[in-house]
């Protein structure tokens, strides 16, 4: 059961129960939908971008504990970063989720709580959904991001 304990750490369960930055952002300059067609998880990100800076960010949607907790942590971490920093963080989180070795544990900090996902290949998409949507929002004009 140790994999399970790694997956559902207290921090994940807490973010699932009390997601941070949950709700619509009224003054958003950009919004994007993320869908996981495999399981029907759906979330919507709202970003308030000022020049290159993420002044504010929020999300709504439904999903499993992993996808909700991951989205919640993503918003906490992305807030205040500029676009390049966000994309860099995205790449780091992605590497962590798929179990790559060279990751900056210090930089990832509490996001490391999501690392238990790597033992569950079928759940990596749950954890990466919101990060994927963030990347899409910052790098394209698309309005939906899909994990497929």
């Amino acid at each position: 059961m140790s994999n399970l304990i790694e997956l559902y750490r207290d921090l994940i369960l807490d973010h699932n129960k009390n997601p941070r930055n949950f709700g619509e952002l009224q003054n958003a300059t950009k919004s994007i939908e993320g869908v996981n067609p495999l399981c029907g998880d759906k979330l919507k990100l709202f970003l308030l971008l000022e020049n290159d800076l993420i002044k504010d960010i929020s999300f709504i949607g439904t999903g499993c504990a992993i996808s909700v907790a991951s989205a919640s942590m993503m918003t906490e971490n992305a807030k205040g970063l500029d676009v390049n920093q966000c994309l860099e963080l995205y790449a780091m989180v992605h590497s962590m989720l798929i179990g790559k070795d060279e990751i900056d544990v210090e930089r990832l900090g509490k996001i490391m709580a999501l690392s238990g996902v790597k033992a569950y290949p079928s759940r990596v998409k749950c954890a990466s959904l919101s990060w994927h949507a963030l990347k899409q929002a910052l790098s394209t004009n698309q309005l939906t991001a899909s994990t497929e």
Binding site: G40, R123, C126
Partner: protein, 402 residues
């Protein structure tokens, strides 16, 4: 019925160090050793292309492959062997019907009736047929329990109704639909009736002659046979009239660059080299199941399903989705505490295999206002211990998510 678990080698496997409780039978069933041995015997001793060779192996392979038609004919009580068409599965069977019937029979403003609780395989092909022909897709509602609303169904029928295509058993709710009545009523308007028997083929006796349906489809892998193989049953007169679906080798009588004449049914609908071993495996799967009487099978499954529902009902914070008047061996459920994917992951750690998600029935999920459900589905080889293991694992899920 005495336990048949030992006939299925995979069921003695340990999963995550635990005894395997395989409760994902609505997605795919496991194969008995008899089927696995037959497949391996075929590959080692018989394989050659069918219908083509003069040589010994090809003749033997053809013989083994063709004799399965007779077994299927008997299993579903068709009138003729040439009413049995080999396909890749339910999905291909319905695509064949939708494509072929759209060319011949469906016109602008005709109506095609399905239900709210259909699998995508019995929705999307008809949507495509509607797009091509200008026909209209009409959806028969289900009630709060998950039963087809028969009054609504009857009032949807009219001379415009060209096709009625309905699942025998819902793969999400487990509801057994009143197909006898539905077929009879649809016939009054001359509609073509199609039964998606993917979920019923292993669980209920089927008699297409008595039912009077025009077509019936199922997949081998839901009845302990191989994947990539399925059946389309169709009344011979229709099969003669219908244009082919795919074209190429094996489905022709003569070909010249000016003109091709098609083979007669069922070959007209079987272009290309088929899944020979899949068909042979299906034959053995049917032989395996046929050693038990329907009385035996139904008694056992009904009592196990009752135990499943009773056990799930005692779990606080668990809601079973649907309460159909007649239920097959399927139960979908949700927990207050955890999302179905989280349930499935934790159950897996306990050796319990279930399905979580939309079960290829997104319109039904929309209707139920649920993003996903967890689903436990039984087979003859399951026992009470499997269900107890499921319930313990659900309790553990609640503990983690409390």
């Amino acid at each position: 019925m005495k336990s048949i678990k030992k006939d299925f080698p995979i069921l003695s496997k340990k999963v995550n160090g635990k005894r395997l409780s395989y409760l994902d039978n609505a997605a795919s069933t496991q194969k008995p050793k008899a089927v696995i041995d037959a497949l391996s015997h075929y590959e080692m001793n018989l394989h050659a292309n069918v219908h083509r060779g003069i040589h010994r192996l090809s003749q033997e392979a053809t013989y083994e492959y063709e004799k399965v038609r007779e077994k299927i004919k008997n299993y579903i009580h068709a009138e003729q062997v040439d009413e049995i068409i080999y396909t890749k599965g339910t999905t291909e069977s319905i695509n064949l019907l939708a494509t072929s019937l759209a060319k011949l029979y469906i016109h602008k403003n005709d109506e095609i009736v399905i239900s709210t609780a259909e699998h995508h395989a019995n929705i999307v092909p008809w949507q495509q047929a509607c797009q091509i022909t200008g026909a209209k897709l009409v959806v028969c509602p289900i009630d709060q329990n998950g039963d087809i609303e028969l009054d609504a169904f009857n009032s949807l029928l009219s001379p415009r109704t060209k096709i009625v295509s309905i699942s025998h058993i819902s793969n999400v709710l487990g509801s057994i639909n009143p197909i006898e009545t539905m077929i009879k009523n649809a016939k009054k308007y001359g509609a073509i009736t199609i039964i998606d028997a993917a979920q019923s083929i292993a669980h209920l006796p089927i008699d297409v002659t008595q039912l009077g349906c025009d077509f019936l489809t199922f997949s081998a892998h839901k009845i302990h046979g191989p994947t990539g193989t399925g059946i389309l049953y169709g009344k011979y007169a229709h099969l003669t009239a219908m244009p082919p679906f795919m074209t190429g080798g094996d489905m022709i009588k003569t070909v010249s660059f000016e003109k091709t004449t098609f083979n007669s049914p069922p070959y007209k609908f079987e272009a290309g080299t088929p899944n020979i071993s899949g068909v042979i495996g299906l034959g053995y799967a049917i032989d395996y199941l046929s050693q038990f009487s329907w009385d035996e099978k139904l008694n056992y499954e009904n009592s196990l399903t009752k135990y499943l529902i009773e056990s799930l009902s005692t779990i606080h914070g668990l809601r079973i989705i649907g309460n159909p008047s007649k239920r097959s061996a399927i139960a979908s459920f949700v927990l207050d505490a955890a999302h179905p994917h989280d349930i499935a992951t934790i159950l897996d750690e306990h050796g319990v295999a279930i399905r979580a998600g939309h079960h290829c029935a997104m319109p039904l999920m929309e209707h139920l206002k649920l993003p996903a459900t967890a689903r436990a589905s039984l087979s003859l080889y399951n026992d009470k211990e499997d269900i107890d293991q499921l319930c313990n694992a659900i309790e553990d899920t609640k503990r983690i998510f409390q």
